[in-house]
């Protein structure tokens, strides 16, 4: 498999605090990878760096993708669900690549948005206001937006947090379908059961890379213990990482 996105000695800082250290490796084209790890492991930070939203403090992210070729699902907490916007308008944002900020919305796009809503089980919800939806329904709307975006590379930040079991099942089906269609999917997850059950590849992160490869190998009890031990050692006041901590290239 050809590498689509390559990380080289990637270090990312958040508020000048290094949050992810010296990660190297590659996401293969068409792979389905979970970024797993304990709370505060830098999972979302790594995802934002891959997307180009955060600049690396050191090292590089290499890929040939334009910004618009990424489909991105933000963490649910980053969106104000009381905002007065309708379901269909939210889904239509997925057509941004075609409509841009000022372009006309073609009737065909409108039809595709309706189909995307049906695909996530929300047929007929278009006129509803997003504030009237449950957390699970809202997550379905965001998945419909991703469907409309039709991106080859899809980045999901905690897609299954705080939603009901049935919605989680339905949305995992969509992720699996994307994988079957040859899209590259990278999802930040903290639920190790979901990772084991549905994600062939895993990147286990505890600010440093613990393991990256086939899920069964990476999610070994030794690695998980190691990740937890690293999480317990975190010192919030540590500034720069000492040179001897850096792995030899």
């Amino acid at each position: 498999m050809t590498p689509l996105i390559r990380l080289e000695n990637l270090t990312v800082a958040y508020n000048r605090h290094p949050a992810v250290h010296h990660v190297s490796g590659a996401f293969a084209s068409g792979s389905l990878t979970a970024i797993a790890g304990p709370n505060g492991a830098g999972k979302s930070t790594l995802l934002k760096a891959i997307m180009g939203e955060l600049r690396p403090a050191e090292g590089r992210v290499e890929h040939r993708l334009g910004r618009a070729e990424f489909g991105y699902l933000p963490q649910a907490a980053e969106i104000d669900r009381r905002f007065p916007i309708s379901v269909i308008d939210t889904v239509m944002l997925g057509a941004w690549k075609k409509t841009g900020a000022f372009g006309r919305i073609a009737p065909a796009e409108m039809k595709r948005a309706g189909e995307a809503l049906s695909a996530v089980g929300l047929e007929g919800f278009g006129r509803r206001h997003v504030g009237s939806l449950s957390a699970g329904q809202f997550q379905r709307v965001l998945f419909a937006r991703l469907l409309l975006q039709d991106a080859g590379t899809i980045l999901l930040d905690e897609p299954f947090t705080a939603i009901d079991a049935r919605t989680t099942r339905d949305l995992i089906d969509i992720v699996t379908r994307w994988h079957g269609e040859g899209r590259t999917v990278i999802a930040v997850l903290h639920d190790f059961e979901l990772v084991r059950a549905h994600f062939p590849q895993t990147l286990l992160l505890a600010r440093e890379l613990v393991g990256w490869g086939a899920t069964a190998d990476v999610m070994s009890s030794v690695n998980l213990l190691k990740a937890r031990a690293m999480a317990e050692r975190w010192d919030e006041d540590a500034n720069a990482c000492a040179p001897e901590e850096a792995p030899a290239a």
């Binding site: 997307m51 939203e53 334009g66 910004r67 618009a68 990424f70 991105y72 933000p74 980053e78 969106i79 104000d80 905002f83 007065p84 916007i85 309708s86 308008d89 939210t90 944002l93 941004w96 690549k97 409509t99 900020a101 000022f102 206001h129 504030g131 009237s132 937006r145 975006q149």
Partner: protein, 290 residues
């Protein structure tokens, strides 16, 4: 007293009342929708801060021009308002201060500075005018300025509506699709300051933000759809202007504060009677069976 005497005669008889009315209607049309966006972006306090920030700039304009010159004060206010908006945003990004704390610091400083500058040269009357406005003294050039700002506001809002909504609702997504959110943010700040400058002569620096925030709060209580909210906000701002002017004329009250009080009364009524208001909470309708 006939209905004509009550509702129309003040405007038919006096030019200054007509000009004040047109100014109020314009201000409502522009500031109402802007206020809705301000509120949705949780920037209510920031609107307040920016309206005070207009003061030192306007005061410097006043000092330079030597009188209550509209151009000098408007230009000064525009520059000062924008720089405070951008500076305090930068301070909260680069330090540990939360945005509201940095705005509060900036607006206290600019209010004090503005009053100081005006009191250097002007009389207490001038100070009062600057703080609370002189809506009955609006002349033709001021009216043109207000009208131009309102037109510009509506045109720009219509033009950038989609990216502005996307930037308010889900800025992370807009960044991810390369939507240049900060451009629209700054453009929006510019509109806020422009509208504050427009309200400045009418309502003064302390109450200019009143025709933005109160109608926006009313709108939020009545509707769940953004276009309807903007319409309600503009309508209730314009209505506050009209009713406030009438009340101030017949009851011989100060016009600016009466207008803002009218907006506040509309807000109070909405809190009680709007669909999501208190009346519904204390006297719930029987829910449907089944």
């Amino acid at each position: 007293m006939t209905a004509y005497d009550l509702f129309l005669a003040p405007f038919a008889d006096y030019g200054f009342m007509r000009r004040a009315l047109v100014a109020c209607l314009c201000l409502g049309l522009g500031s109402g929708p802007i206020g809705v966006f301000l509120m949705l972006r949780r920037m209510s306090l920031m609107g307040d801060a920016m309206s005070h920030a207009v003061l030192p700039g306007a005061a410097i304009g006043y000092l330079v021009a030597g009188s209550l010159s509209l151009t000098a004060m408007g230009l000064g206010g525009l520059i000062a308002g924008l720089s405070v908006a951008l500076l305090s945003g930068a301070v909260s990004r680069m330090t540990v201060l939360q945005e509201d704390a940095s705005f509060a610091s900036f607006y206290l400083a600019s209010l004090a500075l503005g009053v100081l500058i005006v009191s250097l040269r002007g009389s207490n009357i001038d100070l009062l005018h600057v703080l609370f406005g002189t809506i009955l003294a609006i002349d033709a050039p001021a009216l043109y300025l207000i009208g131009a700002i309102t037109s510009l506001t509506l045109v720009i809002l219509a033009f950038v509506y989609r990216p502005l909504v996307a930037e308010c609702f889900d800025p992370g997504f807009l960044r991810a699709v390369g939507g240049r959110g900060p451009v629209y943010h700054v453009l929006f700040l510019l509109l806020v300051v422009l509208n504050l400058v427009a309200s400045f002569q009418a309502l003064g620096t302390l109450m200019a933000v009143g025709l933005m925030m109160l109608p926006a709060a009313v709108a939020q209580l009545w509707s769940r759809s953004l276009p309807v909210m903007m319409a309600i906000s503009a309508a209730s701002a314009a209505a506050s202007g009209y009713l406030g002017l009438i009340a101030s004329y017949h009851l011989e009250l100060a016009s600016g504060p009466t207008i803002i009080m009218t907006a506040a009364i509309l807000y109070g009524l909405s809190i009680l009677f709007a669909p999501s208001g208190l009346a519904r909470r204390f006297f719930p309708r029987p829910h449907l069976k089944g």
